[in-house]
Amino acid sequence: MLKRNAPVLTARFEAMRDDPTDVAHYRQLGGYEGLASVIDMGREQALDELDAAALLGRGGAAYPAGRKWRHLYNAAGETKYIVCNGDEGEPGTFKDKALVESDPLAVIEGMTIAGYEFNAQQGYIYIRGEYRHLRAIFNQALENARAAGLLGDHILGMADFNYDIRVISGAGAYVCGESSALLNSIEGKTGRPRVKPPHLADVGLYLKPTLVNNVESYASIPVIMREGGQAFRHLGTPGGGGTKLICLTGHVKNRGLYEVDLGTPLEDILYSEKFGGGSSTGRPLKFIHFGGQSGSIGAADQLHDCLYSYEDLKDRGLAIGSGAIVAMDDSVGIVDYLTSVANFFAHESCGKCTPCRIGTLRILELLEKFQQKAGIPGDLAVFENMVTHVTQLSACGLGQSVGKPMLSGYELFPEEFKQAINWQTVERKEVAW
């Protein structure tokens, strides 16, 4: 039974602290019941459960997992690959790290269920370079699962269930979190995104149909299969089921990782002692950056009655994204904050497409000029245009997301941008695009 406001994905963290890779202990705590249920109910029914669960992709894009799985299920081809995206790079996010470190077998079980569902032989988990030290624990968990007959040939004694998982680690490139870039990186190439379409469920790793899901999404799969899609959905809201791992950082008292039911009031998350505990600086919170650097910014005083759910945030132009919640107090100027964000994008742009490569740098230069209060009339229009162009013309999610923090921040605090302009100087007339 799934209870509301109780840990689901983090339920085993404490109990398995001594050895999170212990398969027997994992099974005592409900482990591998999800896989057993899938084998019992059959593959078609498993897809229905996933649809019923309303699991939205936890990496940040919130793509319905049921739709993604069904697409791959119907894709033509004998060989299919299962890939777990553990390239957690959104600043302010460390929830996949926690899952890999504290309940690796849940991730492995989720990936194994996918292996069964799609008759795949090989799965990959891509762990970001900065988390290289987690490979040891994950490899140990894989080793223990093999020894228990839960990976390798003839899993659970079934003649045609042969599946294994390999660990790949990155080496410091945010863009590799983009699914197609991640597949290139696994293939031993530089991790630049591919041109899409085709969809990765049709043409993915080594040009074969491939499933790419986030670590937290995979960890949710065994719960859904064990408890049923409806039960999972009821933990959340109609717009998205389940619990969400969130990472509270910035100027809140209790920074750290928490698990909340989707639909928890945002005020509780920020201010209750159970979670954030309010401002850590004694100054009021000014704005909240949701879902990583690629997410939108909301003003703290406009979010009083907002629920932390996919639909409530969407109504306000915000998104859950990776689950990062960065709170800033009123000492932080929006121009300074966005300069830091722009610096990140300019640094992480992979350079493959021109709008992102050059545009992110131009945005950074403009913001640095604003920081010096050296803007001239017309610069704000140039800023807006530049952000819009990078967003609309970039080839992948990295460049396409730049507009979210920039424009949301600009719209919330336009007066701070206006103060960065020396209105006495001659206006800059922009050449038509």
Binding site: A171, A173, G188, T190, C247, R255, H347
Partner: protein, 168 residues
């Protein structure tokens, strides 16, 4: 680091091109100068049956891989927004005072160097530094002083010899 030791690392990953990042980072972390020199790039290219250009494309693309010699201890400071506005920049100031060098400059004894990097997922532990895989959290000037002294005295062998682990 001898050629045999490098080959042992490549063999541990079965010369699999999928594992090129692991191979290069393992070699780099265990090398004395902390970077991929041309001899190493040639060796990896040969063993994995890919071109040397391809190896250099990868070395120059991924931020953790380096093409030039590094200090023995590279202290990494997060400069992403959550940390940048939560006290992390003070670490650069402290390091500048204590080491007497600016960002990306090596101390004369070749022991230390520091620079900013994007988020390492330790956002709840500022101010911190990261050295190789290890995060040293909640620093104060005193703790940092002690850390530098300990490093000079060679207290953290795992930060010199690289990480050991099993591979499937």
């Amino acid at each position: 680091m001898t050629t045999e030791e490098k080959i042992a690392i490549i063999d541990r990953y079965h010369s699999n091109p999928e594992q090129i990042l692991n191979i290069l980072v393992d070699i780099q972390f265990q090398s004395e100068a902390g970077y991929i020199d041309q001899q190493t790039a040639q060796l990896v290219a040969e063993k994995l049956d890919i071109s040397e250009t391809r190896v250099y494309e990868i070395v120059s693309f991924y931020a953790i891989l380096k093409e030039t010699p590094q200090a023995r201890y590279v202290l990494k400071i997060c400069d992403s927004s959550p940390c940048h506005f939560s006290g992390e920049p003070v670490v650069s100031q402290w390091l500048q005072e204590k080491l007497g060098v600016g960002e990306n400059q090596m101390t004369q004894d070749g022991l230390f160097m520091y620079h900013g990097i994007p988020c390492v997922g330790a956002c709840a532990q500022t101010p911190f530094v990261k050295i190789k895989g290890e995060v040293f959290p909640h620093l104060t000037p005193e703790k940092l002083e002690k850390l530098l002294a300990d490093l000079k005295a060679g207290y953290y062998p795992e930060l010199v010899g690289g990480e050991s682990h099993v591979e499937a």
